[in-house]
């Protein structure tokens, strides 16, 4: 007999089973978090969110120990942190990531020892890996994390026990999402650099916020200090790292408002990506024009786009072969300015980009030159100039050295051949370092060892910053002689100014060319000049003349050796061109107007002969056809 009680039980069980099946599917689709997938709305979600510390605990103003918020926990609630960490700004330490085109390296500078050496975790030609200099990620972060958005080397574990201890006190340098996405006018990225200098890695991101302030220094803390369970310090002058949030920052639900934007303002990019030219009369921001794209109303991220994976477009030709970004192929100069011929639908005019006519320019130029050759950087002069950049010179930080001679010396524009065979404008540094030569391989010597040795020779404390010291050949001989007595098992050498210096068997100094002494170059693309200021806009002789800077301009050879300071190389030496031919070809342009006159005159004569006899033939035909 049918039992109602049994029926109710069965229905209940069925309902519970259905619920159990449906709920997980609704809650989590492919591991996507709330902010990972775009719902199509162009409006920016208001980020009124709780702050979470590195353990995922909610931070409130009533907490006994106020901790800095963790981007991994706070932002990671809604955005896939690990996926974002695979982006270009964070993945330098990942050996599996294709390095792509050479970019600006980090430059290790030590004025006292005559050192400026390009470093990168990426396998860019002529750049050294930090570990080649005995530099751990901990030391690397102390030197360079001031102009990084966190993550990358900031989250690497050290093998050095001392650094492990210090790392516990300082914390990890997580991805600082606010470096880019914080539109709050009170956002202060310079604070980030200050906190890095104090080894306050855990506090650095929070310190940039307008509603938080950080004081104290992890660097001065003893090895036994525990920042999560701080005890009173023996030395009253020592101030542990501490954060204070502005009182009215938290709402009644203990949430804080972040002024987050999807479209990163250019000012955020500028902290790490600014330059200033030196030695020019007009270098102040108010007296120079910005990039023509920005003047037209675009912002950096209109071209340099990325998906959730933050694999940002760098914007050079051929990037699509190494980038997984879907827009890599169409986000170069050509991608916006020239329509794609094979596309089934029109693609020109993206972002309002005008299509260039390039009137009178033979197509061979587009095979041999990049767009940036004619359109980017400063108008080339008879000699290269020096420039300073944010990452190399710490621009925007509190204690930046504003003197024009401060190392590193970056030289530009240098029109050089790229790996793809095209000539492009580059920035350049001449590496200078003490190394050891084994076979044909030069390995830099640990800088601390070099400083110890140099200190012995100089018999005084050596400065780290400023201009080159005045090296003479005797100085180099002394240094190499001292190094040869040391523990290195290879031949000591000194690299600078494009030369390798070593001692021969008799102790005499020899200077020779070597691959390790070659300059490090990286292509530039900004600032883009307007079309009316591009090379060749006036006449072919902008480049094709006997004294044009493009081919025959002088490239400064930067060196601490006093006797070599005035040496310059010709631009053509960097372009893989025959200098004699280039000169003759340039001179031939003097006769170009004559060629045009002769050719057009000849055409006129030929045309008149054809016309004359053509009319006579016509007259003959008319006569014949008119006869009976």
């Amino acid at each position: 007999m049918f039992n109602i009680r049994t029926l109710r039980k069965g229905l209940l069980v069925t309902a519970v089973c259905c619920l159990l099946l449906v709920l997980p599917a609704a809650a989590d689709t492919n591991g996507e978090l709330l902010g990972d997938k775009d719902d199509g709305s162009r409006a920016i979600p208001v980020h009124l969110i709780p702050l979470l510390d590195e353990d995922g605990q909610k931070i409130t103003p009533d907490d006994e120990l106020i901790l800095p918020f963790s981007a991994y926990q706070t932002c990671g609630e809604c955005h896939n942190y690990d996926k974002i960490s695979s982006g270009w700004h964070f993945n330098a330490v990942d050996a599996n990531v294709a390095p792509g085109r050479s970019g600006q390296p980090w430059i290790l500078v030590d004025a006292g020892t005559g050192t400026q050496i390009p470093l990168s975790y990426r396998s860019w030609p002529s750049a050294f890996k930090p570990e080649q200099l005995g530099m751990t990620s901990w030391k690397f972060n102390q030197l360079f994390a001031r102009h990084m958005p966190g993550g990358g080397s900031g989250e690497l574990e050290s093998d050095n026990p001392d650094e492990v201890v210090r790392g516990f006190i300082s914390g990890k340098l997580e991805n600082n999402c606010l470096s880019c996405h914080d539109a709050d006018p009170a956002h202060d990225q310079a604070e980030y650099a200050l906190q890095i200098a104090r080894q306050n890695f855990r506090w650095a991101a929070a310190a940039t916020c307008g509603f938080a302030s950080v004081s104290g220094s992890a660097k001065s803390m003893p090895d036994t200090y525990d920042p999560l369970m701080p005890e009173a310090l023996d030395e009253p002058k020592l101030r542990p790292p501490t954060i204070r949030y502005r009182e009215n920052s938290f709402d009644h639900k203990k949430r804080v408002f972040f002024n987050i934007v999807r479209k990163v303002p250019a000012e955020r990019c500028y902290f790490c990506h600014s330059n200033i030219d030196l030695g020019e009369t007009e270098v102040e921001k108010w007296s120079t024009d910005e990039d023509v794209h920005l003047a037209a109303g675009l912002t950096c991220v209109d071209c340099h786009r990325n998906d959730l994976d933050h694999n940002i477009i760098r914007g050079y030709e051929g990037e699509a072969s190494v980038s997984t970004n879907l827009l890599a192929a169409t986000s170069s100069c050509k991608g916006c300015h020239l329509p794609e011929e094979t596309s089934p639908s029109p693609t020109g005019g993206r972002l309002g980009a005008p299509e260039p006519k390039h009137g009178g320019i033979s197509p061979i130029h587009f095979d041999r030159l990049t767009c940036t050759s004619c359109h980017s950087g400063t108008w080339p002069k008879q000699k290269t100039i020096r420039t300073r950049t944010s990452r190399a010179h710490g621009l925007g930080t509190y204690s930046v050295d504003k003197s024009d001679d401060a190392l590193p010396h970056i030289i530009y524009p240098v029109f050089s051949k790229q790996s793809d065979g095209k000539i492009a404008p580059h920035k350049l540094i001449w590496p200078a370092f003490w190394g050891s030569l084994k076979g044909r391989q030069v390995t830099p010597i640990d800088l601390e060892i070099v400083r110890q040795g140099a200190g012995i020779i100089a018999n005084k404390a050596l400065r780290r910053y400023g201009d080159w010291p005045s090296f003479t050949e005797e100085t180099i001989v002394e240094g190499l002689a001292l190094a040869s007595q040391g523990s290195i098992d290879a031949e000591p050498v000194y690299i600078c100014g494009g030369k390798l210096y070593r001692l021969d068997d008799k102790g005499k100094l020899i200077a020779e060319e070597h691959d390790a002494a070659k300059p490090y170059l990286w292509p530039i693309a900004h600032d883009v000049r307007p079309a009316a200021q591009s090379l060749g806009i006036r006449r072919c002789e902008d480049c094709h003349s006997a004294n044009s800077p493009f081919f025959f301009g002088g490239v400064e050879v930067d060196t601490p050796v006093v006797s070599e300071k005035a040496f310059v190389k010709k631009m053509v030496e960097f372009q893989g061109l025959n200098p004699v031919y280039t000169k003759l070809f340039a001179i031939s342009f003097v006769f170009r107007p004559l060629l045009k006159v002769v050719a057009l005159g000849s055409c006129a004569v030929l045309g008149m002969v054809l016309l004359l006899y053509g009319l006579r033939a016509l007259a003959c035909i008319v006569r014949v056809l008119g006869e009976n």
Binding site: P356, K357, H358, G359, G360, I361, S362, P363, I364, F366, D367, Y581, L584, F585, S588, R592, L594, L595, K596, V598, A599, L600, G601, S602, C603, V605, L606, G607, V609, L610, L612, Y613, R616, A617, V624
Partner: protein, 215 residues
């Protein structure tokens, strides 16, 4: 594409010329003795000399023709060698050489056009079959033109006609009149019109040599 077309065209023309030489020699019953071949080569060489019977204008005409021929050979080699042999654009010292002799060639063509136009004009004796078609009863006083002469004249006027796109396609590209697409069009125009001009000029030169030898 241009490389293939040029190669085939040159092979066809040179092949036809060689075939014509052989057929003509066989038809005349020539013997292929080394002495006869040497005599022919010496005769060919003497064609470069200035004949004593020439007046000043005649000497000038021949000198300009020889200069044009020299320029033509240099332009032909510098222009087609990188394309046909290496499949590359013209560049480097070959480009400079090409650009140096090009205006000289253009000027020589213009002068030769003026000097030869009258002699190379077509007349009634060139078209006896046309005369027959239109039933002209008037007998022509002019001798019937040989086949060679007619073809030579046709080649002459083709050269004059083709010289215009050859020269203009390059010169106009030196002014900011044409954009990238236009420059590519001009370059292709120069290539193909030069190819035609070269083929016609080769045929023209061959016929002149044959005429000189046979007379």
């Amino acid at each position: 594409m241009f490389r293939i077309v040029s190669t085939i065209a040159f092979l066809v023309v040179f092949g036809s010329i060689c075939l014509h030489c052989v057929v003509s020699a066989v038809a005349k019953g020539c013997r292929w003795r080394p002495v006869d071949i040497a005599k022919t080569l010496v005769h060919l060489f003497t064609l470069l000399f200035l004949e004593q019977k020439l007046n000043v204008v005649g000497v000038l005409r021949k000198l300009i023709y020889l200069l044009a021929l020299l320029c033509f050979v240099i332009l032909l080699i510098t222009g087609f060698y990188p394309v046909l042999v290496h499949g590359e654009h013209l560049s480097g010292y070959l480009l400079m050489l090409h650009a140096t002799f090009a205006p000289v060639f253009a000027a020589c063509l213009a002068v030769l056009a003026v000097m030869w136009a009258h002699n190379c004009r077509f007349n009634k004796s060139d078209w006896p079959w046309l005369q027959h078609i239109i039933h002209r009863e008037i007998a022509s006083d002019e001798p019937v033109t040989t086949k060679h002469n007619l073809v030579q004249r046709i080649c002459f006027w083709l050269i004059v006609l083709l010289a215009l796109p050859v020269i203009l396609s390059i010169v106009l590209g030196m002014f900011p009149l044409f954009g990238t697409k236009g420059q590519e069009f001009l370059l292709n125009t120069h290539r193909y019109s030069t190819l035609l001009l070269a083929l016609v000029a080769i045929i023209h030169s061959y016929l002149i040599i044959r005429t000189k030898i046979e007379h």
